[in-house]
Chain length 196, copies 4
Amino acid sequence: MSKTRLEAFSDGVIAILITIMVLELKAPDGTDLAALRPLVPTFLAYLLSFIYLGIYWNNHHHMFQATHHISGGVLWPNLHLLFWLSLVPFTTSWMGEHHQEPVPTAVYGAVLLCCAVAWSILQHCIVAVEGPHSTLATAVGKDRKAKGSLAMYIAAILLAFVRPWVAEALYAAVAMVWLVPDRRIESRLGHRANAV
Amino acid sequence: MSKTRLEAFSDGVIAILITIMVLELKAPDGTDLAALRPLVPTFLAYLLSFIYLGIYWNNHHHMFQATHHISGGVLWPNLHLLFWLSLVPFTTSWMGEHHQEPVPTAVYGAVLLCCAVAWSILQHCIVAVEGPHSTLATAVGKDRKAKGSLAMYIAAILLAFVRPWVAEALYAAVAMVWLVPDRRIESRLGHRANAV
Amino acid sequence: MSKTRLEAFSDGVIAILITIMVLELKAPDGTDLAALRPLVPTFLAYLLSFIYLGIYWNNHHHMFQATHHISGGVLWPNLHLLFWLSLVPFTTSWMGEHHQEPVPTAVYGAVLLCCAVAWSILQHCIVAVEGPHSTLATAVGKDRKAKGSLAMYIAAILLAFVRPWVAEALYAAVAMVWLVPDRRIESRLGHRANAV
Amino acid sequence: MSKTRLEAFSDGVIAILITIMVLELKAPDGTDLAALRPLVPTFLAYLLSFIYLGIYWNNHHHMFQATHHISGGVLWPNLHLLFWLSLVPFTTSWMGEHHQEPVPTAVYGAVLLCCAVAWSILQHCIVAVEGPHSTLATAVGKDRKAKGSLAMYIAAILLAFVRPWVAEALYAAVAMVWLVPDRRIESRLGHRANAV
């Protein structure tokens, strides 16, 4: 099993997803700056989802760099992650058009939650093959950041029914936490590279 | 002939196909959960087609990994397969919107049947170059799974005119059979890798 | 200058073009076979353009495989080719919807003609760097097939104003001529590989 | 950190952006040449944006070829550049439909300005890692071309409110300046290659 094609296919799907979201930003009929105002929530939802997909791409990149053995059993967990990511443009579009409504805001979070769970499954499958003393396993550790994110998504989904903007602020907060690439893996890889 | 570009191009086309299907899931005008209900059949059709394209990508991956010699004669059988796969978003969209109607359901199966035939042609062309004692030829063997799938598709197409949902259940059943990656090739590759 | 990224970018653009054309095949509102009938010309135009883009991809693949030196001067001729290819979905859509009309049929041919001219320019630039005794230069030779195609396109564009279907038959005929991958380059590469 | 995946992902996003813009060129309802006339401004805006995205791809290609060390800190500046590039199809569509209006013309320039700033940030981050005596740092030098472009964009944005066509001519002029690939980097790479 080569990881090159797996990476290339995942890159392709994420690149397409991150790009087709912009098709939702339709050129307005008006020609003054006021014509852009109704697009602001859609634009902000696009920006948030762009960051989320960027985070997933970055972490996917880091995780597979720390991966040495790929078994056929990784293909479907990877496609499973791509499936949930593929729903992000849909939820972005819905929340962008109705950002003050509870259900679109909660559904946006629910898809993020599914993405995060799919990520954990994929990571678990890879760590299981790599072994408990591998670079990746030690870098991931107890994975408090991932567990904290899951809790934040669940809180945001519930809060969406009370104050949608609080939920949206929570989504942005989780994105900020992850914006920093996973230094744990990178620093371990650095150590290992020195050792080699 | 390098197989890198053939793989990269196929990855690109399949990544785009698997992703543009999601454009059919348009954000509803309503903002409650009931607004999502009319999207359920479209969503399920998307899920099924996502799995099918995922299966084709996985098997394409496995087949080309077991392939050592690529002749120019493989390019067109590969494009022929991509052509039929490219019609999957169209039939997914039609069946998703009219899942209780015979013709859209039968046409969905007819395109799957053409994809399967195109796959068999491609496999045949590659095996012909690799030779009867190659890893791929012995891994494929009599290829009962492929022949069984063809029979299932034909049965489903006919049943679509009587009970569309039975046809849809058959499509899902074939997908389940293939969901497991082709262990035959992988295990043979493993043996060979050990031998080398 | 590495040719890997040039190939990867060109593969990406051609893969996207060959795939987004299928978005023009919109699921019909009706649910019987008759509902598909109005789509037949669009489908045939899609099939023809799919073959043309497949031919360009195949030949691009073969040409760059026979190329050893890439200078920065090849980037823009390559983008120039991709620009004209990018107009194929537009002309396919217009001709598909109005296949009995002179202007859409002629414009379809005009874009094919521009693609062919752009191809010749790109080939010329590469041969100029490779040198007159290179594999590619000897394989291309006097390039009668390309010159004949240009003449055929011009004839078809003129005939489109008299009998659109004759022009369309000519487009299909040129595609048939090119469907065979460029054996000249492949056979030369084979000789060279043996020599090495 | 391997630069392969970073390049592949960027290639994917730019290939998609350069291609989806053509979806704005919708097949007209009419079937004579006059039916194409309303598309001319959209077509010219597409051509201009195609050249801009081609320039960014070319320069991205050259810059990463001159880059030897990639740190995780380059991922986000690269995604930041891709974000602004992803807004080009939107502004192209708006300006194409309203090419005599100040605001769409100014907004087109504002996004180009943001792309140019994002490019400078990315270049700065890479040069910081490569070091002041690296191939890239000496090739970039004082980067007068980039600074001149920023000034031109700002001038064009202001002029858009007086004479939109002057602004558009300035955008085209900047594109012409950049159309030539960055010979500085290429020539330095050549020297270095000789030295090695």
